[in-house]
C-alpha cells in the first residue's frame, strides 16, 4: 500500500511539472500561478492514497487445493481462478520503490498469454518464495 501511495505521489509530482510547463506558455490566466497546479496535485495525491487503500483491500489471493484464487480491481472487480496444474512459470520481481519497503511482486503465468495472469504485489520476500515453492517447486504435488 505504501508503495502504491508512493506511486500516487510520483504521479502528482509529474502533474505538477506538466502543469508548470503548461502555465509558462499560457499568457492570460485568471488564477494566480500554481493554484490550479496545487489543486490538481492534491486531487491526485488524495485519490492516489484512497485508491491505494481501496486497491489494497480489494487485492486478495487464496491458495486452494486445486486452484489459485485471486480477487482484484476496485471499480471493475475480477475474481480469477487459475488451475494449479496450468501454471507454466512464476516470476518474483521488485522495483526500486518495492525494495525500499522490502516488498516483492509475484506474477503467475500460464501458456499462451503474454502478460501475467495473476499478479500479487506487496509480498515479503520470504512469503513470496514460500508461495513460489508451493506453486511450482518440489512441494507442488503435496501442497
Amino acid at each position: 500500500m505504501l508503495s502504491a501511495a508512493f506511486t500516487a505521489a510520483t504521479l502528482g509530482l509529474a502533474a505538477l511539472l506538466l502543469e508548470a510547463l503548461w502555465l509558462q506558455r499560457a499568457t492570460s490566466w485568471p488564477l494566480p500561478f500554481g493554484v490550479l497546479t496545487i489543486a490538481i496535485f492534491l486531487v491526485f495525491l488524495v485519490s492516489g492514497l484512497v485508491g491505494a487503500d481501496l486497491r489494497y483491500r480489494a487485492w486478495q489471493y487464496a491458495l486452494r487445493h486445486t486452484v489459485v484464487l485471486a480477487h482484484f480491481g476496485v471499480i471493475w472487480r475480477t475474481r480469477r481462478c487459475v488451475p494449479r496444474s496450468r501454471i507454466q512459470h512464476v516470476d518474483i520481481e521488485s522495483g526500486p520503490i518495492d525494495r525500499a519497503f522490502g516488498l516483492v511482486k509475484l506474477s503467475i503465468f500460464t501458456a499462451g498469454t503474454i502478460a501475467a495472469v495473476v499478479v500479487i504485489p506487496g509480498l515479503s520476500p520470504t512469503d513470496a518464495e514460500l508461495l513460489r515453492e508451493r506453486l511450482v517447486g518440489a512441494e507442488r504435488d503435496h501442497a
Binding site: T66, R79, R80, C81, P83, S85, T113, V117
Partner: protein, 530 residues
Amino acid sequence: MPDSSPPEERPAETGTPRPHVDSAQTGDGAVMRRLHPATILIEVLRRIGSFAYIVLIALLADFLGERRGSDWTEVAILGVLVLGAAGAVLRYVSVRFGIGNQRLVIRSGILNRQVRTIPLDRIQNIDLRRGILHRALRVVDVSIETAAGGRAEAELSALSEAEAERLKAELLETRQQAAGTSPEAEAHKTPTEADEGEVIWRASLSDLLLAGATENRAGVIVAGLAGLWYTFGAALQGRFAEQFQRTYESWLGAGGRGTAFLIIAGITLLIVAGWLVSIVLAVVRYYGFVLRRRGNDLRRRYGLFTQFETVLPLGRIQLLRIQAPWPRRLLRCCSVYVETAASVLEAEGGGSAALSPLVRWRRLPALCREVFPELDLEQVKWNSVSRLTIRRGMIRYTVAGLIVLGLASLYLHGYALWGLPVVFILARGAAYARFRALGYAEQGQFVLARAGVWTRRIWVVPHSKVQFVSVSQSPFQRRLKLANLEVQTAGSRVIKEARVIDLPAAEAEALQDALADRANAYGAWQPEGV
C-alpha cells in the same frame, strides 16, 4: 508480412531453443539443403513490393506538387532496387535447412550467422503459401510455427513444390512417429494426392458466393478511403475541390437541400459496394476450399490467386468458434473457426483458422465432431443468463438511442419527439433479443458460450484446454448481483473470447470453481494433449 531482413537477427523466442553453433558444423547429422533459385526473383520482388508504397507516394507527390525532376526520387528508387537485389542473392546463398535428430535446423546469415533449431515435436502448424508468381515458377513458401511467438518461427521461401511436399511429409511423419500417434506405416510413401487424406468438407462456388453475400465489408471501404484521403487528401483538395464544388452545385442546386440526398445516396452506395467487395473477397480468398483429415491432422487448401495450404494438428486446437451474422442465420448457415496455440495466420482475424467459410446447419454437428469427437451439438442444452440483463440492455440501448435522437433533433427540431416511443420500443426489443442470444451450456468435457444479437457466436472450449477462468463485475453489475464469466485458453489473444455475460454472480462463481477444478484435473497443459 514476412520480414525480409536476410540474417534473422531477432533472438530465439521462448520455446524455441537457442541457436546452437556447434550443430551448424555437423548439421545435426542432417543433410543440409538449399532453397530454390527462384528465391532470388521472388525475394527481389518482395523487397521492392515493401517499398512500393513509399515509392508510389514519392512519385505522386512529385506529380501533384508539379515539381518534376527531383533527382532524389530516382536515386532512392535505384538504391532500393540494388539493395533489394543484393539482399535477395545473399539470402539465397546463405540459407540452408535440414532435418536430423528429431530437429529441424535452419542456418542463415553471412555476417551475422544464425542457426535455429526447432524440435519437431514443438511444431504447431505448417503453412504452405503460393502467390501467383510462385505458381508460375512452381515454388512454395513454407512457414513453420511453434507455440512461441506471434509469428512463424521459420520461413523457408521459396522451395520447389516437390521439395515442399517432401519437407511437409518429413516433418509430419517424424513428428507423428515420435508422438506415437500414427501407427500407419506410411512414413516412406511419397506423398501423393490420394495420400492427402479423407475429404471432410469442400466449398462449392455457390457456398462461397453465399458466404460473401452474407457479410458486408463497407467498413473496409471506409477505412481504405480514409487512408487514401489521409495520404493524398491535401494534394487532391487543391486540384479538384473547385471542380467538385461546381459539379455538385450543377447537380443539386446551390442550396444545402441536396445534402441529405447525397448522404443517403452515399450510404447506399457504400453498402452495395461493401457487399460486392465481400463477395469478391470471399471467392478470391477461399476459392476451392478443401478440408481434409489425415491421421490426427486437419489439412486445408484454398485460394484463387495466392494458394494456402495449412496443416492443423487436431490435438493443438484450443477452441472452436461458430459464427453467423444475421443474414447467414436466416439462410441457416454459419462459418466455423478453430484456434490453435500458435497464432496462425493473422490475416484470418485474431489467430483463428477457418474450418469452413460457410456450412449448412445440418452439416455442422458432423463437422464439429471431426474436431471434438465427443461433442454432440444437437444435444446441447442451453442455460439462459439472468433476466436482469434485459434491464441492463434496455438502459444501454435507450441511452444510445437518445443520443442519436438528440443529434437528429438538430435537423428535425420538434419532430424528434415522435422518435421517443420508437427509441423505447426498439431498445426493449433489442434488449430482449440480447437476453435470448446470451447463454452457456455444459456438455461432457466441454463448456459452451453463446452471444451476439447481430453476429451470433458460439464458443466450444474443452475443459482440457482451459488456462484460467475469470469472473468480473462492473459497478452496475455489482448492484444487480450479476457477473461476466470468461474462459481463457492458450488459443487466441483476443480478449473477448468465450465469455458469458450477465450471469447471476453466485452462479458465475460456482461455474468458475467447477471449471477451474476440472481443468486442473487434466494436469499440465500439453501442447499435443487432448
